[in-house]
């Protein structure tokens, strides 16, 4: 096997100078060309790659999307695009030595194109571009778009996340939990005898009560992905990603105690202590019982109903 473009010194110089990775494979998937960019970013020198099978060098890509794309090129003569967004880090390439040491791969986009020689031989060209700058720019854009959007996602009265925010978050988290196989817990909670409270103290005092309860509870979730939201009326919801049922129940119990310990007077309460309390229903999913957002909300709702039926100021779990 002659080394493809190696017989043309000028082309080899050009290939070594350009700012993208270029790899050429023969029909047996052996590496016949490996430019300097590839050596720089992979730490594997051209000489070490000569006539080596591509998948011996990068075994993790065997049977993956890149393997399929190479087959498409070599077998069916069709080109493929591997976007950064859908493929993340197909090859172990690093922007710098320090990033290689930290194992931080370069964001990359790949194209795989068939090359047909006049003599009927077919090769395929893999081009790799570093798209880190674009990824960074989009991350910044995402943060700013989110910040802007969050201004329309807050409840006017209590300042916690509103129902719209909740709907978006529960959908996203249920999907993420299913995809990653991680647990997800949801609490539905509401203020006990709140209608009686409103009737007794008036709506302004009722609003103040909602604000006090929301502000006491919304500071109890520690992690950035946790979400405390006003679900509607005197009902609130808490989304706890990566949280198994036991941990969610423990937190719910702490929340019940916290509201009770606020000792907000409630003369119209049917309970003996005449203070504002809450009831909480908890539902969870995990890898062995994955679920849809809709089912999780229903289960938490039923548990909340159960907590009400069992005497209020308590936690029940589905």
């Amino acid at each position: 096997m002659s080394r493809g473009a190696g017989s043309l010194p000028l082309l080899q110089l050009v290939l070594d100078c350009i700012g993208v990775g270029a790899i050429v494979l023969d029909a047996e998937r052996r590496i016949v060309l490996w430019n300097r960019w590839m050596s720089q970013h992979s730490g594997v020198l051209g000489d070490e790659t000569q006539d080596r099978n591509f998948f011996d060098l990068f075994p993790e890509q065997r049977d993956k999307r890149l393997d399929g794309a190479i087959s498409q090129a070599l077998r069916n003569n069709l080109p493929s695009l591997l976007s950064q967004t859908l493929n993340r880090w197909p090859l172990p390439l690093y922007a710098s030595k320090s990033q290689a040491e930290q194992g931080e791969r370069m964001h990359q986009a790949l194209t795989v194109s068939p090359l047909n020689m006049d003599d009927g031989q077919r090769f395929c060209l893999i081009q790799v571009s570093d798209v880190s700058a674009a990824v960074q720019r989009e991350n910044l854009l995402r943060e700013q778009a989110m910040a802007l959007r969050s201004q329309t996602l807050l409840d006017d009265l209590t300042g916690v996340a509103n129902r719209r925010h909740f709907d978006m978050a529960i959908d996203r988290e249920a999907r993420r939990a299913r995809r990653m196989g991680t647990p997800l817990s949801l609490m539905m909670l509401d203020i006990d005898f709140f209608k009686a409270y409103n009737d007794h103290y008036g709506h302004q005092q009722g609003d103040a009560c909602l604000e006090a309860v929301a502000s006491a509870l919304s500071t109890m979730q520690q992690r950035p992905a946790d979400l405390f939201a006003r679900y509607g009326g005197e009902e609130f919801a808490v989304i706890l990603p990566d949280t198994p049922a036991e941990a969610a129940v423990a937190m719910a119990n702490a929340m019940c105690r916290k509201v009770h310990d606020l000792r907000i007077p409630h003369q119209a309460s049917h309970s003996s202590e005449r203070v504002v309390t809450i009831s909480i229903g908890v539902a969870s999913t995990d890898a062995s019982h994955p679920g849809e957002a809709y089912d999780l909300i229903n289960a938490a709702d039923r548990a909340l109903y159960q907590a009400k039926a069992c005497g209020r100021n308590r936690v029940e779990s589905a």
Binding site: K64, R65, G68, Q72, N76, N77, L78, P79, S80, L81, L82, S83, Q84, T85, L86, N87, A109, T111, S113, P114, N116, V131, A134, V135, E138, L141, R142, A145, M146, R149, R172, R175, R176, R179
Partner: protein, 209 residues
Amino acid sequence: MIRLSDLEHDALVELFNIGVGQAASAMSEIVSETVTMAVPAISFLNRAAAAKLLASKSTGSGRICGISQRYSGAFDTDAILMFPEEKSQEIVRLMVGQAMPLDELTAMEQEAMSEIGNILLNSCVGALANIIGHELHGSLPDYHVGYSQDILALSGDSETVVLMLHIEFVVERQQIAGDVAFIMDMSALQDLKQHVALYLARAFGGEQP
């Protein structure tokens, strides 16, 4: 307009379904979710009728997002995967797990859409190549946004025929409909019809359809 016999029509639909089935399994692998795709129907239209049909499916701005690739060889065609623009964000959200809350897709999201188009178009063209018995040569995908008549006008003159594949995606139990247009001239269409007839003749051991 050239008409295919029922048998020719069904053979094409079946081959396209095998093709998009392979594309669906490739996409499932990428997104670690079950993606299914089916081609329930195909039709032959002239360009104006195709543009009208696509425009009628939009519920939003009327604009279409298209991913195109040009194929040549035994048979020349421009292939374009199209979705109503308002659906494109939905697809990115389902395939990528999140989408930027903006009116237009970002550059990286467009690239992801291009990859989805690339996988799907290559699989459809693979099915066509299978019928023709010759491989085709293809370009890398381009991404466009515009009104249907502009997207369909990306290639050449108006004396062309559009082979439209209606495609249904299901990702996470959500269904999204799109269309693939193969834009070709009359002679390419005649070639295709002939190849389909030959393919059927081979498949049925010389029996004439």
